[in-house]
């Protein structure tokens, strides 16, 4: 019992924020997509592809920031594919997303073998170095939790604030939300519905790409097959839990990140079989999702029907 309590310390909360980062990025990506009426089940695959692309680019260039850039581009490309299939060709959103997920699984494993000759993991590459925020890190406790992280953690916090401002405090955000809530009315008001949808789904893919880059370049400095481990789906749960708002999603991501960090520490402790602790984040996600939708009544921002011009 003493050992169990020992793992609850400031380090755990710093780790929670770290593990919340990929979920929060993908979750913000999900918000941009769903706010224009496109469900994005493919977040998981976009993250995985970006995690791989980021490592590959860092491996060949030696520069992790080029890796991040490549990861964002890869996510954006898959976002474009999802938008093409669901907006232009009115394909089923969930089927398209699932296709992207399976594509990511196969493509990254295939390319891993081509580049590194191993299906399981890549070679170690140049990852992102942690930075300390000068004044912040000196504050007791708070400094320990948020003072020193990879830059992507801070970028995630900035992007969350920016997303909130863009979506809820600017005319652009008003247009985005109008497209999701009532595309026909938005069209009548002179908003380019299709362009808005394309852009938002692509931005969503790019954000998921940042989440993937965090996992492979910020957290591990290598690519491991299937390393996203369902975080794209957990991000969707965080999005719903946060009622399709950036700060809500961030809060939910931190909650899920906490259980992910807790799980890792329990595993390191070795008191329980690893398979049991590994299952914890998924069980928590199901419980959280059931709880929030059931008792707090989260209403989606769109009916997700494809928009066909009259």
């Amino acid at each position: 019992m003493v050992e169990l309590l020992d793992i609850i310390n400031v380090g755990l909360f710093a780790a929670s924020l770290r593990m919340a980062t990929p979920i929060a990025f993908a979750s913000l990506g999900g918000i941009f997509s769903e706010r224009v009426g496109i469900i994005n089940i493919g977040l998981e695959g976009m993250m995985l592809t970006s995690a791989f692309t980021g490592v590959a680019a860092s491996y060949f260039s030696g520069n992790p920031w080029l890796g991040v850039l490549a990861a964002v581009l890869a996510g954006g490309l898959l976002g474009l594919l999802h938008a093409l299939l669901t907006v232009k060709f009115i394909g089923n959103q969930i089927v398209s997303g699932t296709g992207i997920n399976i594509f990511a699984l196969g493509f990254t494993a295939y390319m891993s073998q081509i580049i590194w000759g191993s299906r399981g993991a890549s070679e170690s590459v140049q990852g992102l170095k942690a930075v300390s925020i000068p004044l912040l890190k000196n504050i007791p406790i708070i400094g320990d939790v948020i003072g020193t992280h990879t830059p992507l953690v801070y970028l995630m916090l900035i992007v969350t604030v920016l997303s909130y401002i863009v979506l809820f405090k600017t005319p652009i955000g008003l247009r985005i939300r109008a497209v999701g809530e009532h595309p026909a009315a938005a069209d009548t008001a002179g908003i380019n519905v299709f362009k808005t949808k394309y852009l938002c789904v692509m931005v969503g893919g790019m954000l998921a790409g940042l989440g993937g880059a965090f996992l492979s370049l910020g957290h591990l400095s290598l690519f491991v097959g299937g390393m996203t481990g369902g975080r794209g789906f957990i991000a969707l749960a965080a999005m719903i839990f946060g009622r399709w708002t950036p700060f809500g999603a961030l809060g939910a991501s931190v909650l899920f990140g906490f259980f992910d960090a807790l799980q890792m520490r329990l595993q390191a402790l070795g008191l329980f079989p690893p398979q049991i602790t590994l299952a914890i984040p998924y069980i928590i996600t199901v419980i959280a999702l059931a709880g929030v939708v059931g008792w707090l009544k989260a209403i989606p921002p769109s009916d997700y029907k494809p928009y066909v011009k009259e």
Binding site: I41, L81, L84, L85, T86, K88, F89, I90, G91, N92, I94, V95, S96, T98, G99, I100, N101, I102, F103, A104, L105, G106, F107, A109, Y110, M111, Q113, I114, R119, G229, G230, F233, I234, L236, A237, I240, P273, Q275, I276, L278, A279, Y282, I283, T285, V286, L289, A290, G291, V293, G294, W295
Partner: protein, 368 residues
């Protein structure tokens, strides 16, 4: 004589356009899927070329591996068997308007439950033991479908997320079981062999093809019959087409959703039981290379109808069995098979895309 010929001629002249129209209709029905498969293979060829492999050699080895001899054909059908189960699982839930993307997890818990019954009893006659183990598989899979079903029906939790999360839980729970309480001696995480009285007979030695394939085919017929000819099937489809209309028509949408997802899970669980009882004779951690995802692809490529599923499952079984030969002979990583599968799904996802490609290619007659 001349009279007779003229009669036949006029009859043929009348029939021919009707026959052609019918043929066109049938071809149009399977055309999007066919084009999707062909386009996927074409895109896969580009990936192969770009990574330094010869697509002709790779695809050639794949086809010869899958259909070249009796062994290959046996392995193709062996691989197709669990895919038929998971495809029917996806299809049944889909007809009710639900996306069960967690067939993989339902298959795993079903497989483990069957293995548990298989190793727990000794000396039972096969006609008792086999149904018991199959039933255990179906029940466990059904339970794994019931959890997201009740969460969806009562609380509105999106089944795409919950079924996926529960797949991970199923993976880790079964992994725990075969690493700790039910681990066979040795370093491989697997259960001991199940009793011979719980084993399904192999029907094409030396391949692993087992009697499980008969169950799969029976289930195809049963699914078709249930969906098309029974009141329950009608209610399921009505719910899938429009829940609000079904509700006002006196159908309990909640009940239909729960039943459909439980049955869907049970089907996948049964497929897992078949793998344990017929192919591996034990539960081995990681025995499924992703049959749950194959099932989703097969259900879509099969045009979401049970008979189409049968054909598409053979194609995907061939990809799996021929893929192994391809990897052995040409060194192409096996994962290209998953890439092909994903490409097929993406092309099937948007039938309009296929129509667009056909129009662009000048095939107006087909796309009209």
């Amino acid at each position: 004589m001349a009279e007779k010929i003229r009669e036949l001629y006029t009859e043929a002249k009348e029939l021919l356009p009707r026959f052609l129209a019918r043929a066109k209709l049938e071809l149009q029905r399977i055309l999007p899927q066919t084009i999707a498969i062909l386009t996927a293979f074409l895109a896969g060829a580009i990936v192969l070329l770009a990574t330094g492999y010869s697509p002709i050699e790779a695809y050639g080895a794949l086809i010869i591996g899958a259909f070249g001899d009796v062994f290959g054909i046996g392995q193709t059908f062996t691989q197709a068997t669990p895919i038929i189960f998971t495809a029917l699982a996806f299809l049944f839930a889909f007809k009710c308007g639900l996306f069960n993307i967690g067939a993989e997890g339902q298959l795993l818990v079903g497989a483990f439950a069957a293995a548990l019954v298989g190793i727990s009893f000794d000396g039972l006659p096969p006609f008792v033991h086999i149904p018991m183990a199959l039933l255990a598989g179906a029940l466990a899979g059904g339970l794994w479908g019931f959890i997201p079903a009740i969460l969806k029906a009562e609380l509105g939790a999106h089944e795409v997320i919950t079924t996926m999360m529960l797949s991970y839980v199923a993976f880790y729970v079964t992994a725990y079981m075969v690493n700790y309480p039910y681990k066979a001696p040795g370093w491989v995480p697997q259960t001991p062999l199940i009793a011979s009285s719980a084993q399904l007979p192999r029907i094409l030695q030396p391949t692993q093809l087992s009697a499980s394939i008969f169950l799969a085919v029976i289930l195809v017929g049963l699914t078709h019959y249930t969906l098309q000819k029974t009141t329950f099937g009608y209610e399921v489809r009505a719910t899938g087409l429009s829940p609000t209309a079904a509700e006002s028509g006196g159908i309990s949408v909640k009940k239909e959703m729960i039943l459909a997802l439980v049955i869907s899970g049970a089907m996948a669980g049964l497929g897992g039981a078949g793998e344990v009882m017929g192919v591996h004779r034990r539960f081995i951690q990681g025995f499924s290379p992703g049959y749950g995802w194959d099932g989703l692809a097969v259900a879509l490529v099969g045009g979401l109808n049970p008979v189409g599923v049968l054909l598409a499952a053979v194609l995907f079984g061939a990809l799996r069995s021929g893929g192994m030969t391809m990897t052995r002979v040409t060194g192409v990583p096996l994962d290209i098979v998953i890439v092909l599968q994903a490409l097929v799904i993406l092309f099937v996802a948007a039938p309009m895309l296929v129509r667009y490609l056909l129009k662009r290619g000048g095939f107006k007659w087909w796309s009209s």
